[in-house]
Symmetry: C2
Subunit: 385 residues, 2 copies
């Protein structure tokens, strides 16, 4: 059985158990997971209609019907493509598919009992139109039935995550080889994107290059600041390999060619603390460990080290076909880790106006403990020029 | 009055007229239009809550509060930023803001009369949570009140569209200068993205390079096909300048250095027909012209030229802060063009397994007729090598 065939089977079984009429999945990770189909989301509706017993139909605009028909699930005969014309109402088409399926399943269920689940990214333009066209149903998120499937990665999926991680590792090494002095963050960021592709990603997703005080804003992208001697740099980069993401953060220190400027004692203290927080949380990874507890371990390390609340964000996020997905390593999340889950571990310290420090790896929860996918050294990467 | 101040005023007035309680705008073009705020959409909620008489509040994750506070509307004191912490429920925060506003406005309106409008791109994860947290309200699309504002571009906006168009024109010229033979579509596509930035875009949005039969799929991206002598190429590229998009399609013909391979008679016939369809539709642009009629003009040209239904898609789409926005030039759209609207005119002919032809310009509806922003020559661009 192929990967998508197995996933479609498990999704259908989960639908039956949860008493859900159908999944309605627009373009995005859920659709890619179940069918292999990927396309750029525009305003026209593409939607997989998957019920537990009826047929699986991929509704697609005529313009994209050829591409949809080439996806794994369609070529394997598991999903039928229904094309809609530019002047047709695609929501009415979805409604007729559901009514037909309900009819085939022994007559429609009583009003009020039918529940539909949509993918979390489905745009309001489609969701509101579906709610109108499918009156009497209630709507929820497909995450409800798909998260248990997607949260445990198969060996094939982990292999893709590992390939992506190693490709990102190589980009870190090439950037750390310099030169950096005199270049802007934006220029280096563009180079990162090119290198992500060169090293084997099919897409460069993000390339944060935050020098000096810019590093104090966790989501700083890359700006006009020119990198100079004495700058710490937060390098946080990622791309995708067959849809699966990389996401690594390493700290660089630029000394400048002649007059080496050493990091301040406070910066080094923060750096070592973040490194310890990363190591402590990683060491605690095992099946059954609570997501929120991992966050607490890293946060305690940083607080006890004297940097109080300077760790501004959660410890990490799951990763797979989405850059951020379940499980989230955040305070209050009592979920127990499962073997096969993949996530980031990325503690940080942010001191506004001065600097930021973050060290991030992608980690898989193995049967016996952590499997850290990134192999790039975690020490401070000193760049002479 | 600044641009965002004027837009916020007009949006509030439109809310009052339409009897809408508030706009709820997540990250995207509507939010950028009203506040100048732009950020990459992740899973955390960012939402502008704008009511007709209450305050305007930009709800943002703590992590991004600094960036949100730096947007034009916030620095001008027109919008207040409300940050939410990682462990807080942002939807409850939105609900409390609306209840406060309703209270300030003289007590809540009776249940069932309150209507909220969300941006068309708001992901289902947020919309369903808002629907739960804000029971008793009905939800619609913000397009209802914002489309009339956004569909008419100011001279400043048109200037940005023109700058973007001219930057894309220059990229077409540089690609048409070759060399192309022996390179893959994907390689040329990457060069297009680099050139879009070099020529002044802040972002390269798309770079379709479809050679030979690949051009017959209107949404083909760029693949592994190696470009050779005798290949026609559909080059459809675009990026953004301060958020405003470019989008141009030109046809290239690769002859090969020594043995020039001339286009077939049928290709040239299709090419001239598409060019005529583009010219005929463009010539009909004026205030009051119906969107659907423009589509019909181009379609009739192609059908009467003997290519039947080979023009697979609508004639065009509006363009501004979104790559595709109102107005849509599509059969059945009776909307009359307004002076200041900007849109693509992009007829095409697609012959599966053989070739495709498309010629696309961005056109502004001027007071007296068309203002064609693209200046790149529309003839077949012959590339020797």
């Amino acid at each position: 059985m192929t990967a998508v065939a197995g996933r479609l089977d498990r999704a259908r079984a989960a639908l039956a158990v949860a008493d859900v009429e159908a999944l309605l999945l627009g373009l995005g990770a859920d659709l890619r997971y179940l069918t292999g189909y990927t396309a750029h989301a525009l305003e026209r509706l593409t939607l997989l209609v998957l019920s537990s017993d009826g047929p699986a139909v991929l509704v697609a605009p005529r313009l994209e019907a050829m591409a949809a028909a080439a996806c794994a699930a369609a070529t394997e005969g598991l999903v039928e493509v229904a094309a809609w014309e530019e002047t047709q109402d695609p929501y009415a088409l979805v409604a007729s598919l559901l009514d037909t399926a309900a009819g085939a399943g022994g007559g429609p269920a009583p009003e009020g009992q039918r529940r539909l689940l949509v993918d979390a990214g489905l745009p309001a333009r489609h969701l509101l139109a579906l709610q109108r066209a499918l009156g009497g149903r209630s709507f929820g998120l497909a995450t409800e039935v798909l998260r248990d499937l997607r949260i445990v990665k198969t060996p094939d999926e982990i292999e893709l995550l590992r390939r992506a991680a190693h490709a990102a590792d190589r980009v870190v090494a090439r950037i750390a080889a310099g030169p950096l002095v005199g270049r802007t963050e934006a220029e280096v960021s563009r180079q990162v994107r090119d290198l992500l592709i060169e090293e084997g990603h099919e897409e460069a997703t993000f390339a944060i290059v935050a020098a000096g005080p810019d590093g104090a804003s966790p989501h700083h992208g890359a700006g006009a600041r020119r990198i100079g001697p004495g700058d710490p740099i937060v390098l946080d980069i990622g791309g995708t390999v067959q849809g699966y993401g990389s996401d690594i953060t390493r700290m660089l220190w630029v000394t400048g060619a002649d007059a080496a400027v050493p990091p301040s004692a406070e910066f080094l203290e923060a750096f070592e603390l973040v490194r310890a927080a990363n190591a402590n949380a990683t060491a605690a990874v095992r099946p059954g460990a609570r997501c929120g507890d991992l966050d607490a371990i890293a946060r305690t390390t940083i607080r006890e080290g004297g940097f109080g609340d300077a760790f501004l964000h959660r410890l990490g996020h799951g990763i797979g076909l989405e850059g951020h997905e379940d499980p989230y390593l955040v305070a209050g999340n009592d979920e127990a880790l499962r073997a096969g889950s993949a996530f980031s571990i990325e503690p940080g310290i942010y001191l506004e106006g001065r600097f930021g420090v973050r060290i991030e790896d992608i980690v898989v929860c193995g049967a016996d403990g952590p499997d850290v996918l990134n192999e790039a050294p975690r020490e401070l990467l000193v760049v002479p020029g």
